[in-house]
Symmetry: C2
Subunit: 688 residues, 2 copies
């Protein structure tokens, strides 16, 4: 049993919003292949320096900061917004344009009926507990985990065991309510019990968590007060649509349902054919109980979701060949089931060939996603594909893989790729009685053996009254295998028990219904397509990318740099002059205008700060290139061009430099290419 | 008195969400300069044909259509989403990149305190009435208007007056609850009273509307039941943040407050200098009482807002010269006050020079917005700038202009450009005690005469107790002019009445407070900047653009065309072949791949439909170009290129045609330029 079955099973993306899986947790205490240095210098990654830069340079800050802020809500400032817009622009080109996907923009405000059908109204919840006196609220599983972890830590200290740095990192990463540990030695059997408890912390129901809290005397670590019994808290923000109070709405917790309810329209737009994909970028909302991990667990976030509709009997992909040699770092489920976290580097072609990845379409999207994440600058050595274990997936799901990205918070699920089978379209179709199916002409008619229900209409109606119609339809549309069971029962026992779509059980007798084999010639094949869903948490990817891009100059730890690739860098080019001379100021605004005209986002810094200071500020913003104007510019018409990571400088005529910047930003040349068009320059030291 | 003062005064954009101003209404019965034909053919604009295309081609449809839909919520399908994305892309380049604006992405979920300060919690409301028996809900002003209009119509019919087509259009445009009219002649005095009532329908308070309903016996026209007294309904969607129920939030009704609360951070990012602008694109929400006008009045919508911060004493704009010759169709307030709607075509330079437009910065944005709307394809002859009349504006606003676009719904406000003075920053700064000000070093120190408050601290405290601190701060930060009044009163009467920030009046006596003139030398000038706000309703612009782009082929009224400019067209190029031959199919997918690689969004139609049918389908989608492959393509390596509006065709080698399409889409050549690179083709008729 799982605590939040809906979020962790039915909607794979939600998995990306739980901080880490037990498999990922295990990886912290075992060596793995991803022990690459975090930085480009000898300086260790300093989370404080990093956070300070993000705040100082206004990448993102708590929303309504001047009003004291609210947990789990963040505003993106100019560099954060531009970085996000650029990531989304790459995403749109990489998926929507390149793959001819059908883009949608559906509403955030969602009719409650839709989310009732999808299961969110009933199951999209976490368990919370309150301090019985102060009323302070905790997520039940987080509290149990934090207290037990602190006790184990205390035990280790009492035993004189030195902590592994990896475990330290595991702790830091959680950033849950910090619980202080006391050095108290525990019984060996208790240690064992605690460790087993932690390993399955995601699997307890609310009542089970309540039992654990009683058994292990878990109280509020700060006040010492008892906690209340766990109660379920639905994570959707609720509101009323219109003034009557009778139409309930929720802010969508994902964009996916907006695709599914429009399936019939999408199919028609695609001339009735599958496969095809719909895609949507937009905000979703989850009213987290107590969010405490920065951009990694937020109440409002941007998602990008693809729903790819395929024939369930043919999950090949027409363009699979183009990606089959892409290498992935795989963590398959059987490896995890052995308690290991060793990664296997393998081409997607081999992985699909060996059935490690279920089918070509899923493999295709995994490969394309690997390419996307590399393109925007995610360090491939800190990226892995973790397969969901059987107990993580919904019963109907064929296969599910998460792209997890390593940051100072550990391995975080940032993209989920799931084969969701026909689940969603089936439930919406049943609820609304709208056909959400594909009809395909068969190349040749085919003869099919079927079972046909023949009802004694009057007697059936008298027996089941208001339920008769529903039950008739249910029986008539049953799968052949199920219907065969009913038929056998009727023939053997004279009656059969049938579970209706309302969940109730009905007893049908052989005087009311007979089931007969018939032969039908079919000209058309009808099926509900399966859905393969790659789902992206943009905020998590953006945050991970910032961590991967951050390092400090060897000569000065305080000089932080964000080595963002130019395709996503918020600003592409800094324009500065060496003095405050009015003639030079005219020139830099002239260069700025020229860059704007060719669509290159630039930033003039004409403040009185020193040139070194200006470069340092823009290194912190991740600006890859810088044009510097000095008196030689007036005399010779030349400017210099600086590259952020190497601080190398080139010099050339203004228009040539502008053209080189354009080529660099478009990616048609790299820095090596730039050196072929411009001369090396060593006139100005890159220091403060 | 106005019904919804906040929305119509404080937030100019809300004006764009009321269907029409009285001035605009007047224009329907008087001739104006914009009587251009709606279409490119002799066929009159047919709203039914138009709506059918938008729905059939999945531009947009009611959200949760298969669940029955909800009024005021719409989903954009693939062409609608792509059109919106393209409009926003042009917007981002035109404003954010070109003007170096600071982009923001702030949360939709907004802390109630923020919207309390801004005035939305108290004032962002409409008046609603209920049928006393059925409970059916109406917006009070809309019901009164609809019933009185129907009576006037009945009167005209009874008098045998033929209706003006223009008035018909005015009626249709409102699309309020349709009220049937009965031919009953009214007293002349009643007609006059009704007409005067309609002219000021926007100006009544709720209680006044209640009085009018009683006086004129306005009941539910369908049931004949009495209506309840009007009650205020706040238009914001409300929700709770977190599980405690104690943190209230609203979905933002505009993006603007997200800019203002971040002003201090933005200013720092801009090195402490003004002018600069912040910009944001995002969803906003208004829980309309009874939305009934398609995309023009919706509960969830995309806005694009700019907040430009300027020195209140210097509203010049550095780039004003670049736009001063842009012509605007102006409807200034004094013309409207005379009851006229004549437009004046004038350059923005002249309008600012003659003080018709208040200042250069406002004029700059009006000109830039005119250019933006023309760039995306809005018909300039159906675009006007209407100035707000004095009674439409907030007391603090300096000037306000709306871009109104004419469609079958009449003149609709789509962009608001307001000078909001220092209002917003002032109220947030007062509430949070955070300085939202600009500090400027003065070139030379200046000596200033000020007034200083000297309190008898102990006596003052005893007198005002808990209010003493608040009152002291209030007096100490008063404007000099106000303080002078207090000083005069104290000296004349020995006491003065002071209104506190809490709205209460306090009596201060001269034994508690003396106010003395002092001389201060200032080195720094401190001010709260003024805000100029261009605010765009993207859905309204998108809808108007679709109407402006729609026409039907002369030879066949059923062949609708959307002449969207290629820069915003959802798909740039159609790729089809003349037969289902497998070799040709390979070729069209090859062309599609080449177009994708250069970033041109294309669509393959390899269905079995006729070539004419395929062209017609894509004309309805607004696809400007089409490449056609036939057997000559295999033999000679040539394909044809079709232009949507003229149906003209050219022919050339595949790669040349692809290059021409690229140039056409980028806008570096027009169709004339294409004819210079390719040969004319007349082999295939453009018919079904």
């Amino acid at each position: 049993m799982r605590i939040r079955p809906y979020s962790s099973l039915v909607r794979p993306f939600s998995r990306t919003f739980s901080i880490m899986s037990s498999a990922a947790a295990a990886s912290n205490s075992s060596p793995n292949d991803f022990t690459q240095p975090l930085n480009k210098t000898a300086h260790a990654f300093d989370k404080n320096d990093f956070d300070a830069i993000l705040s100082r340079r206004f990448f993102f800050i708590p929303s309504f900061e001047i009003y004291g802020g609210v947990a789990g809500l963040y505003d993106y400032g100019p560099p954060g917004s531009a970085l996000q817009a650029n990531i989304l622009d790459v995403w749109r080109k990489h998926y929507i344009i390149e793959e001819d996907m059908l883009e949608l923009d559906t509403t955030i405000m969602t009719l409650s009926d839709v989310l009732k059908t999808s299961g969110h109204v009933d199951k999209f919840a976490d368990w919370m507990v309150k301090d019985s006196k102060t009323g302070e609220i905790f997520r039940a599983d987080h509290l149990v985990e934090a207290v037990i972890e602190a006790r184990l830590k205390g035990d280790k200290e009492a035993r004189g065991v030195t902590e592994q740095p990896a475990e330290e990192e595991g702790d830091k990463k959680k950033k849950k309510k910090k619980v202080k540990h006391v050095a108290i030695k525990l019984e060996d059997s208790v240690v064992e019990e605690y460790e087993s408890l932690l390993a399955q912390i995601d699997n307890y129901t609310g009542p089970e968590l309540g039992e654990l809290m009683k058994k292990h005397k878990i109280v509020n670590p700060e006040t010492g007060n008892d906690m209340t019994e766990p109660v379920e808290f639905n994570l959707m923000f609720e509101s009323n649509i219109g003034p009557t109070g009778q139409v309930k709405g929720y802010l969508r917790p994902e964009t996916a349902q907006g695709h599914f309810v429009n399936f019939a329209r999408l199919l028609e737009f695609n001339n009735g054919r599958v496969p095809f994909a719909s895609a949507q970028i937009g905000k979703s909302f989850r009213n987290e109980i107590a969010p405490r991990q920065g951009l990694l667990r937020v109440r409002e976030f941007t998602m990008a979701e693809i729903e790819h509709y395929v024939d369930p009997t043919d999950k090949r992909h027409a363009r699979f060949n183009e990606v089959k040699s892409v290498k992935l770092a795989l963590l398959p489920k059987d490896v995890q089931q052995e308690g290991k976290t060793d990664l296997t580097s393998m081409t997607v072609g081999d992985a699909v060939g060996q059935k490690i990845i279920d089918n070509e379409t899923l493999g295709y999207f995994l490969a394309r996603t690997q390419l996307f994440l590399e393109k925007i600058g995610i360090d491939p050595t800190r990226l892995r594909c973790r397969q969901h274990m059987a107990n993580e997936m919904a019963h109907y799901a064929a296969d599910c893989w998460d792209f997890e990205i390593q940051s100072s918070f550990g391995w975080i699920e940032c993209v989920g790729c799931a084969d969701r089978s026909a689940y969603d379209l089936t439930v919406h179709s049943k609820k609304t009685k709208q056909p959400l199916r594909v009809q395909q002409s068969l190349p040749e008619p085919r003869v099919v053996d079927k079972l046909e229900c023949v009802f004694e209409a009057k007697a059936f109606g008298l027996q089941f009254r208001k339920d008769a119609g529903m039950l008739k339809e249910h029986l008539s549309t049953m799968e052949k295998e199920q219907l065969q069971v009913v038929k056998d029962d009727l023939e053997k026992n004279g009656s059969a028990k049938v579970q209706g779509p309302d969940g109730k059980t009905y007893e049908v007798t052989s005087d009311l219904l007979s089931i007969n084999p018939i032969t039908v010639t079919e000209h058309i094949r009808e099926f509900i397509p399966n859905v393969i869903e790659p789902s992206f948490g943009i905020g998590r990817i953006l945050y991970s990318l910032l961590e991967h891009s951050f390092w400090a100059r060897e000569q000065d730890k305080a000089r932080g740099v964000l080595s963002l690739p130019s395709v996503v860098a918020p600003i592409k080019c800094l324009i500065v002059c060496l003095s405050q001379d009015p003639q030079l100021r005219v020139l830099i605004h002239d260069i700025s205008r020229k860059l704007r005209r060719i669509g290159v986002s630039s930033r003039v810094d004409d403040s009185s700060a020193s040139i070194g200071k200006k470069y340092a500020r823009n290194d912190e913003l991740g600006t890859p290139f810088g044009c510097t104007v000095d008196f030689a510019s007036l005399k010779n018409g030349t400017i210099t061009l600086r590259e952020r990571d190497s601080t190398a400088q080139l010099i050339g005529p203004i228009d040539t430099v502008i053209s080189v910047v354009d080529q660099l930003v478009k990616g048609t040349i790299d820095w090596q290419g730039a050196t072929e068009q411009l001369d090396t320059y060593s006139g100005v030291q890159d220091v403060d």
